[in-house]
């Protein structure tokens, strides 16, 4: 088994299969639609993504059989102690060798290469390549698995899109009738396939430029899918909003890429660490400026000035690196809906629910987290601190907004933003594997929750308001049960004493432990631990509020309740698969000491050890150090989450506190949260209105300055054309007409010579010949 050869082949295949499905549906969708079974497009997409899943699993198993599952990391002291106790010398030697081998490629084994050189400018190459390490493989399996489940779910959820006449009650025609349109399931699956292709390409990409390309591709897929019901004004606006807000982030991303290129000269992931290593000593050399550096300045020839110039270059490089880090993170802020660019995600819920599950919770919005994880060595301490604080702000703010949201999907959207904030926080405080681990577990339980919400919405015929639901657990026991598991998972339920829990328990625990460890060594940043802990209570509260309002209590709308029904099997089975993973994703793999975390840790990058001039002198505790806090954190966390759960139960089951009274008590706060901190209004005032003003001014200039000019030009041209037409008629047409007329007259006259009398012709002939000879003879004599 040759990993270098097989992995690109398998993952490349898994990557391109959805593209094939997309191409077939896009080019042949018309025919697929015409045939009796419109389901074909859906089946095609589903089969393609299932194929990708199989390939990804094969790649994963090859990886595991070659690289192993990874060992739990307890730090050098712990390992040494263990070794001294019960290892034989042979094993010791083997372990030492392993350590050396790991060292040889910087601890991270990866397969990278180039498929195609897109463009080459001098030494610089723009490549279509791949970079595969444990992170790539894990994300491939996660994405294809979740995507397969959601494809199956969509087959059921979008059943009605197969009909030829769908009444969209949210769109009214001018006659007041509901708008009627043709179903377009094939288009949905077309975009879904394109999305899968783009998302897998983003994860597989070997350099930042390629990441950027797929970054934009997932953006456009998101735009298409949010605007799937494009007849609805809200969907149009939401799609535009998502697209435009993401552009802001992407601008930063592009600036970051350019800055990175300026400082490193490469965008390829595989080369970054070596280039950084070249750069690192240089930046640390500032104390001894006599040493010559690699990037000696070429601007100044003066040798004496060189020393100071080196220092400037170093400063300049660090500045650029910080700019690059902030720029890349700016892209992540847009894509992962972090504060202050989170405003698009709640609105994005206008799309069909499977889209919200796949694109806007499990995969695309996690792309920002992925990118931060992928570019981790690039981030200096300042940038990491910014990431951590943005994460904290986001998670707390979104969790509070989720408390007051009344739309079932919006609660989940805010919850997604909040959980993404957790991931960013974890990455920001040095918890690389905790953040990525939470990314994976979150993908499972959040897509489960979304699919559950989808099943509810489907059952209630597109009713999304929580206040109109209730008591549904009698009608939809399976959905209720599975969603309860999802709620437990996101709340991080577990039993600390036994170290047993759902997936969210493990990932949140790792995350909080890292934050705690960070706060321990950096006392000034202690809020990075306390605020997420508070967020945990909020998480438990809002998620159980959602569950209670939907499934518990008495039905609030009798009619809706009566018509509700359990979801069909094609929707339930994917939910069961996701439920299984939402429970077990954090567990140890049987008979091994490993888990998903240890597999991921095979790709653990080294934190950049840059002594930056502006560094706040932070200490980043290594991740294994945080293990000592696990038990303590687990108890604290479970207590907090339990408080949230208890509060939700008091509010919505025991009715000990009445929600509306509390609302009245905290009126201003409630309204403030419900209005999403008035951020939309602020943005409207700060950006949209000025933009409209500029647009109006442009329109005025267009109408009053440019249009008259163009109109004049057009009129002048018309007049000129008229003049030319006259010239044509009088100067050119007339002589030609006269010529043709005179030729005609001549011909009519000459006609008389054609008498038709043969003997006359003969006479003319003879006379002509004789005359000719006379003339020739006469001329001859001259």
């Amino acid at each position: 088994m040759n990993l270098d050869r097989m992995l690109p082949l398998l993952l490349g295949g898994a990557w391109l299969l959805p593209l094939l499905a997309f191409a077939i549906i896009a080019l042949g969708g018309h025919y697929l639609k015409k045939t009796s079974s419109q389901h074909r497009a859906g089946f095609l997409s589903t089969v393609a993504i299932l194929g990708s899943f199989v390939l990804a699993v094969v790649a994963f198993s090859m990886w595991v059989s070659d690289q192993g599952l990874g060992e739990p990391h307890h730090g050098p002291e712990f390992e040494r102690a263990q070794l001294e106790e019960n290892q034989t010398p042979i094993q010791l030697a083997a372990l030492a060798e392993e350590g050396e081998a790991e060292h040889a490629h910087d601890g991270v084994f990866s397969v990278s290469g180039v498929w195609y050189i897109w463009a080459q400018v001098g030494e610089q190459k723009f490549e279509i390549g791949y970079y595969i390490d444990a992170l790539t493989i894990c994300l491939f399996v996660m994405i294809t698995l979740v995507a397969s489940c959601i494809h199956f779910f969509s087959l059921g959820y979008l059943q009605e899109e197969l009909e030829t006449g769908i009444k969209d009650h949210l769109v009214a025609t001018s006659a007041g009738e509901p708008f009627e349109r043709v179903g377009r399931q094939h288009r949905f699956f077309q975009y879904l396939s394109l999305f899968c292709f783009s998302m897998l390409g983003l994860v597989l990409a070997g350099n930042l430029l390629m990441v950027f390309i797929f970054w934009e591709l997932v953006g456009i897929c998101s735009y298409f899918l949010i605007g799937f019901y494009f007849e609805r004004k809200a969907a149009q606006d939401a799609a535009n909003k998502a697209f435009l807000v993401n552009r802001i982030g992407d601008l930063g991303f592009l600036v970051g890429i350019m800055a990175l290129w300026g400082v490193l000269g490469t965008l390829t992931f595989g080369e970054m660490s070596t280039k950084l290593a070249e750069l690192a000593p240089e930046t640390q050399q500032q104390a001894s400026p006599n040493k010559t550096t690699i990037q000696a300045a070429s601007f100044l020839q003066d040798e004496e000035a060189k020393a100071t110039n080196d220092e400037e270059t170093a400063d300049w490089n660090v500045g650029l690196l910080i700019l690059a880090g902030l720029g890349i993170f700016c892209g992540c802020v847009g894509k992962s809906a972090q504060f202050p660019l989170h405003v698009w995600l709640p609105d994005a819920m206008e799309g069909p629910t499977p889209v919200s599950a796949l694109v806007h919770s499990a995969t695309m919005v996690a792309a920002g987290v992925y990118l931060v994880a992928r570019c981790y060595p690039l981030f200096t301490e300042e940038v990491l601190l910014v990431i951590a604080y943005i994460g904290v702000i986001t998670l707390l703010m979104a969790a509070m907004m989720a408390l007051v949201a009344v739309d079932i999907k919006r609660v989940l959207a805010f919850s997604t933003i909040s959980q993404l904030g957790y991931m960013m926080l974890a990455l920001g405080v040095g918890g690389w594997s905790a953040g990525v681990f939470h990314l994976i577990t979150h993908a499972f339980f959040k897509s489960l929750l979304f699919l559950g919400a989808g099943a509810v919405i489907h059952a209630l015929h597109h009713e999304q308001l929580l206040i109109r639901m209730g008591g549904l657990r009698h009608k939809m026991p399976w959905t209720a049960g599975m969603m309860f598991v999802g709620c437990l998972a996101i709340a991080g339920a577990g039993i600390p004493g036994l170290d047993w829990g759902l997936s969210g328990y493990f990932s949140k625990d790792a995350l909080l432990a890292q934050a705690y460890a960070f706060a321990q060594v950096n006392p000034s940043h202690v809020y990075l631990y306390w605020l997420p802990l508070a967020g945990k209570a909020l998480t438990a509260f809002y998620i159980f509020r959602l569950w209670y309002l939907t499934f518990a209590g008495k039905p609030r709308e009798k009619k809706l309740y009566e018509n509700a029904h359990e979801a069909p099997l094609v929707m339930l089975i994917p939910m069961m698969v996701l439920t299984y993973f939402a429970i077990t994703a954090g567990w140890q793999i049987p008979f091994t000491p490993s888990s998903v975390t240890t597999i991921l840790e095979q790709a653990l990058p080294a934190v950049a050890s840059f002594e930056t001039p502006w560094a706040a002198a932070l200490n980043y505790p290594a991740e294994y150090l945080s293990h000592q806090y696990h038990t303590k954190i687990a108890w604290t966390a479970i207590a907090t989450a339990g408080t949230g759960f208890l509060l939700a139960t008091i509010f919505y089951v025991w009715q000990g506190l009445r929600p509306d009274e509390v609302q009245k008590q905290f009126g201003p706060l409630f309204r403030f949260l419900q209005a999403q901190l008035y951020l939309n209004e602020v943005y409207h005032f700060l950006f949209v209105r000025p933009l409209h003003g500029i647009a109006r001014a442009c329109s005025w200039i267009d109408r009053h300055l440019i249009d008259p000019f163009v109109d004049r030009m057009a009129k002048g041209t018309v007049n000129l054309a008229r003049l030319e037409d006259q010239g044509d008629r009088k100067l050119i047409d007339r002589p030609i007409d006269w010529m043709s007329a005179s030729f005609y007259d001549l011909a009519v006259q000459l006609k008389a010579t054609q008498t038709g009398m043969i003997r006359q012709y003969l006479v003319f002939l003879v006379l002509g010949t004789v005359g000719f000879f006379f003339i020739v003879g006469y001329l001859w004599q001259l």
């Binding site: 006609k751 008389a752 010579t753 054609q754 008498t755 038709g756 009398m757 043969i758 003997r759 003969l762 006479v763 003879v766």
Partner: protein
């Protein structure tokens, strides 16, 4: 001219007379057959000129040739004349079938 022995000039004079006779015959006759006769006379005049000019006194390459080029041309012309006469007679026959006459002045279909 009359005191000189017979030479090319005499032949040419005969040829010219024949030619003029033929032309006059063609222009004066209204009968198609008559016109054909005139044509034959004109042809004969031409053939006579061929033969007359083939006499050795006019040649510069006497050793290299047989000196019968004119005669060969004459023979060709006679054969062609016979063929032409056949075609012309066929025309005349068809003309008669269509117009019940062979008077060429009645044939004015080509009048412009």
């Amino acid at each position: 001219m009359f005191t000189q022995p017979i030479g090319v000039a005499h032949y040419l004079v005969v040829g010219a007379i024949l030619f003029v006779c033929g032309i006059v015959c063609m222009t004066t006759k209204r009968n198609t057959i008559g016109i054909l006769m005139g044509v034959e006379l004109v042809l004969s005049a031409a053939i006579l000129n061929f033969v007359a000019f083939s006499q050795p006194a006019f040649r510069v390459d006497q050793e290299a040739s047989l000196g019968i080029d004119g005669h060969v041309f004459a023979l060709f012309a006679i054969v062609l004349a016979a063929a032409e006469a056949a075609v012309a007679l066929a025309i005349a026959l068809n003309y008669y079938n269509n117009h019940s006459t062979i008077d060429v002045d009645r044939a004015q279909d080509l009048q412009g």
